[in-house]
Amino acid sequence: MPIDTRAPLLAAPEHEDLRRALRRFLTSAASVTRARAHAEGEEFDRAVWLRLADELGVTGLGIPEEFGGVGFGLTEQAVVLEELGRELYGGPYLASVVLGAAALLAAGDRAAQEKLLPGIAAGETVATLAAAGVDGEWRVGGPTGVVAREREGGWVLDGSCTHVPDATVADVLLVLADTEQGRGLFVLPAGSPGLSVADLSALDQTRRFSRVELRGAAAECAGTPGDGDRVLAAVLDRAAVALGAEQLGGAARCLELAVEYAKVRHQFGEPIGRFQAIKHLCADMYLAVESSRSAVMFASRALDEETAEAGAAASLTKAWCSDAFLQCAGDAMQIHGGIGYTWECDVQLYFKRAQSSKHLFGGPAHHRDTLAARLGL
């Protein structure tokens, strides 16, 4: 497959303005210290979320203007996700703005879009998507644990779904469910009768996952029953790149933490950053970060422009950034020595996030195999 040589590439100056503003905000209002508090049980801070939406405008970035958004694409959202990833931000950006909005846009149900997207764009509605299979894997055509039946002109859902991100704070749930015509996308508000949501204990405590139980819960169908796998496929490519951008941010922050520590920590009378072994670990981390950045730039642009290699680029990005983030988090830990694997050290939070994100939306080996298929192999 040719790799497109045409697309302009440089992050626009506006991206850098957004990045700076966001970094300033996160450092003061939603740094990794807050992520740690959130991990240890602090509730979701809706005020910060609304400031992200209002002051920074990041929730509407990828939503078309006709639905109250700014009408940009993944290229711009990638900047946001990278910054959120740097601080392990625990809010529902991935759940609501990436998964939720992408699913609604892909499903193409105008009424549902008009009803929900403006709220998502404004940050007032938090959405999430329940689409993992019973084993927690998000895969097109995989087994689903929810069944939708038509009843009295509407639909009723039964079953359960695991690995639903941020479901406890969501105002609206999108659920992929089996119908007689194939899988379809369904919408129901939080608090619906028959719907229950329970947080799961996660390796990575900075991102919350839930189990959603449905017992005769009424829902509306968004789009066409039977079209769910197509919707999920479109969502998953975007989710892969979005998560890749978030992983890039985490990897970059791990490199910074490692370099900062290597400059100040002395052993044998020298800063450990003077030892070539530490230098070379850091240099390889830098390469992992910058190659991940290249992958994210490539894939987000390719998806926005719907080029022929968009799918391959998405698979590449999820596989590559997953490996890069774990490498950087692990090496940052190694460079920190004993301190690195203590509960108090932030590096361990990144390390757990890295291993966990690696398996969200499909692991690296899965994505490489998909990439091979997309290359015609």
């Binding site: 084993d135 390796l203 052993q267 190694q334 509960w343 291993q355 398996h359």
Partner: protein
């Protein structure tokens, strides 16, 4: 006879038969069900889990029989209350215990570090007074060497020891104290002569450990949620001068004796534990049908290869006591890097399911997650992988410092 015993020769096999018989006769049958003793040497178990397992009546009974039978601290000289075994005998004993699925009753740092140091450097009085309570389990030691700014670089440590009458009074701070949770004794290094050069003026002493003796112990929580290490703020801890080993100001030399004993590695047992762990991974792969995935097959073949080679390293170490110093860094590097790799692969096999932990307070994890997290510590403690490579390059290969 035992001094010339070769691993695998007739004398060794005769020995194996005799210890196996003793184990069969004495191990309480229900002990195997209390805990998966076959993997306890692998990083990943929490001290508190093991402490709890040791409270089980079957373990208490087993411990009693081992003490009575003289199977505790068996490497110690007979005069010190041990059996005077060589390493081959200890390895064979542990292999048989592993096969039976029951633990060796060990005394941790008391057995491996403090006891042999006292045997080598202590007076007859100290040996008579300090060794028996280690064997009986009455004294449980932790190690007080590392300080916050001096991890790999001991010669600079700052904890002070002042002589006050016939007592030593210790003030300062220690960190990375493993076993502190369960310890009631500590062996430590302190600076008794601040005017002396860096690695002079240090003193090695044992002391009662705990808040009653000025040790403010603050457990360090690891990323696994476990508290396997602690930090201590020491304010005026006292110990009689008769608890100084090797004499005041001789601490550096005594500590080097102790650190040399860290080479009394447990690779024979560790490699069996890794083999057991491999078996569990292979079983999971077979059960899930993923053994037909060529990528997974490559991974499992690599894993078994490492374990088989590790097992062979252990046999080479046992067969060649003289040349072992050259290989200790290599085997530490080999198993710790292997485990970092394989524990990640193992958790990866769980895919998205591995993102979730068991429910419960206090960050409980699955054994596979425990291993994954703890493996990251093993490439750091007892000399990082970087330091092991330096040692190999300089001491074994002779590259210039």
């Amino acid at each position: 006879m035992t001094d010339t015993m070769q691993y695998g020769d007739d004398a060794a096999e005769e020995f194996r038969g005799s210890v196996r018989e003793w184990i069969t006769e004495n191990a309480p049958p229900e002990l195997t069900g209390v805990f998966d003793w076959r993997t306890r040497e692998i990083p990943g178990y929490r001290v508190e889990q093991i402490v709890e397992a040791k409270r089980h009546p079957a373990h208490v009974e087993w411990e009693r029989r081992c003490v009575e039978g003289g199977f505790v601290c068996p490497l110690w000289p007979v005069a010190a209350g041990g059996r005077g075994w060589n390493r081959v005998q200890k390895a064979i004993f542990e292999e048989e215990l592993h096969a039976a699925g029951v633990p060796r009753i060990d005394r941790g740092m008391g057995e491996f570090l403090v006891g042999p140091t006292i045997v080598a450097r202590g007076t007859a009085e100290q040996q008579a007074r300090l060794l028996p309570p280690i064997i009986s389990g009455q004294h449980r030691y932790c190690q007080g060497f590392s300080e916050p700014e001096y991890g790999s670089d001991l010669a600079g440590l700052q904890t002070r020891g002042a002589v006050d009458g016939d007592e030593l009074v210790v003030t300062g701070q220690k960190i990375w104290t493993s076993g502190a949770v369960d310890a009631n004794m500590i062996f430590l290094l302190c600076r008794t002569d601040p005017a002396a050069a860096k690695h002079r003026g240090l003193t090695f002493a044992v002391a009662e450990f705990g808040p009653h003796n000025g040790f403010d112990v603050r457990p360090i929580r690891q990323m696994s949620g476990a508290y396997d290490f602690a930090e201590e703020f020491i304010s005026g801890a006292r110990t009689p001068l008769s608890n100084v080993i090797g004499g005041l100001g001789e601490g550096w030399s005594v500590a080097m004796t102790t650190l040399g004993l860290e080479r009394d590695f447990n690779l024979p047992t560790l490699s069996l534990d890794f083999l057991h762990e491999f078996g569990r991974m292979a079983d999971r792969v077979r059960e899930s049908g993923r053994n037909s995935d060529p990528v997974v097959r490559q991974t499992l073949a690599r894993a078994w290869s490492h374990v088989a080679i590790m097992r062979m390293f252990a046999k080479r170490l046992l067969a060649d006591e003289e040349g072992t110093a050259d290989m200790v860094s290599s085997t530490k590097l080999f198993w710790s890097e292997y485990h970092r790799w394989v524990s990640t692969e193992d958790l990866d096999l769980d895919g998205a399911a591995g993102m979730l932990r068991p429910a419960g307070d206090g960050y409980p994890t699955t054994p596979i997650q425990d291993s994954f997290l703890a493996a990251r510590a093993a490439t750091i403690y007892a000399g990082t992988s970087q330091i092991q490579r330096n040692i190999i390059a300089e001491r074994v290969l002779g590259l210039p410092r």
